[in-house]
Amino acid sequence: MVMEIVCPAGTPAALRAAVKAGAHTVYCGFADETNARNFPGLNFDREEMREGVAFAHSHGSKVLVAINTFPRAGDEAIWHRAVSDAEAAGADAVILADVGLLDYAARYHPGLRRHLSVQAAAANADVINFYAETFGVRRVVLPRVLSVPEIAAINAETEVETEVFVFGGLCVMAEGRCSLSSYATGKSPNMNGVCSPASHVEYHDEGGVLDAKLGGYTIHRVAKDEPAPYPTLCKGCFSAGDKTGHLFEDPVSLNAEHLIPQLKKAGVTALKIEGRQRSRSYVAQVVGNFRAAVDALEAGRPMPEGMLTRLSEGQATTAGAYMKVWR
């Protein structure tokens, strides 16, 4: 079976661009703190979600709604409503991370397919099988910390479908566990849907030297001729001991395009592209590229040469943990 390409859409226009470019599936979220890309100007209101799902379905594509932050005690209703509204909009599945919300969805929306978000950081077969048995989870998005053999080992021990990231920004910690953004800004992807929120980012350009500050901390400074990275803390430039550099991770982005055949062999069902914060131009280019790649693989043709480095953070790419060459 052809591998499923799961594409990001931060706006209805990006959703349409993804569908037209050949996305089998699009994932998106509501314009509030219930999803992990709660950025200014992004996401869908309820009417846009209904229209988006209808558009995707009319072109044979599916829509997954990410409700993947962790509900605040006392405010669960916001997250519960998001699950109900996703079902009412005709979503094909919801992507959830919190056990309470999974329990709620399994009890009150049993007909709505449940996927486990990367935010849940389920990285072994035991925990994945637990989610499947307890909450009826049908698919898990694996955290970006596993190698290909580790993914194959997981697939050998579970019936749950696996989805892995193949392109886009790299969240290098076990997802859902990172507190760097909370430390610097008080806001985190886990609770507020934002890592390094734009409201706390400041850029200064002096004579071509670009300084990026997050919550008042300078996290990197790039010279005139250097590519600019995102202002995320894990990719900041720090001094520790006698070393100065990108201590956690270089500001590069993931491209596992050449690993697609191995991922298929490892039993992976779906390939996920990161980037709900990106434009429809990005979505169309990346989706087109990956769709061509999986179709070529299915037809036994050679994989097309990728052209995606220019779209990547740091204008450089890595195979991430899949190849385990990290510091």
Partner: protein
């Protein structure tokens, strides 16, 4: 070296020079009228700006001798073109081609930022909201201009198409084809 998001043309200095003496008041009036027409056809753009719909944006085409102050004003936008240093809540700077290419969805804003073809200063959240709202609106500035020009619409569109072809600057929305 950062790679350009793609080859982004620079407005020819030979043509930019005469713009130094261009009267800006009528241009401001014309652009404000134009922005209001766009606002009428794209009300969702302003909803998407949310809390940023009353911010002041400085759009700075770095290869032209003026900057544009855009106030979305909650859906009744005002545009002021100026040669003087102007401050706003957020400044978005880049070549005219980069800015128009982003508006039309020909270029990705983040890729322009990585390659240093685009610079954001001030209120990053406001700048991001504007970029995302504009991206969703699928604007086609030539089409909007043609709509305003009555009987001149067709010749105007031809001129835009020719200018686009000659300069490489994206003046209209690139056609999307359905691949599958």
């Amino acid at each position: 070296m950062p790679q350009p998001a793609t080859t982004i043309p620079i407005f020819p200095p030979l043509f930019a020079a005469p713009l130094r003496t261009l009267p800006l008041a009528p241009l401001s009036v014309a652009l404000s009228l134009y922005a209001r027409t766009v606002a009428k056809t794209h009300p969702r753009l302003f909803r998407r700006l949310g809390e940023h719909a009353h911010k002041r944006y400085v759009l700075d085409p770095t290869d032209l001798p003026f900057a544009i102050l855009l106030e979305p004003n909650g859906g009744a936008p005002k545009v002021h073109v100026t040669r003087r240093a102007v401050t706003g809540d957020a400044r978005i700077a880049g070549s005219l081609a980069a800015l128009l290419g982003m508006v039309h969805g020909a270029y990705d804003g983040d890729a322009l930022f990585f390659s240093r073809d685009l610079m954001v200063e001030g209120d990053t959240g406001a700048a991001l909201a504007l970029r995302n709202a504009v991206d969703d609106a699928e604007l086609d500035l030539s089409q909007e201009a043609a709509r305003l020009s009555g009987p001149l619409a067709r010749p105007l569109q031809k001129i835009f198409a020719l200018a686009e072809q000659r300069t490489g600057v994206s003046l209209s929305r690139p056609e999307e084809t359905t691949a599958w």
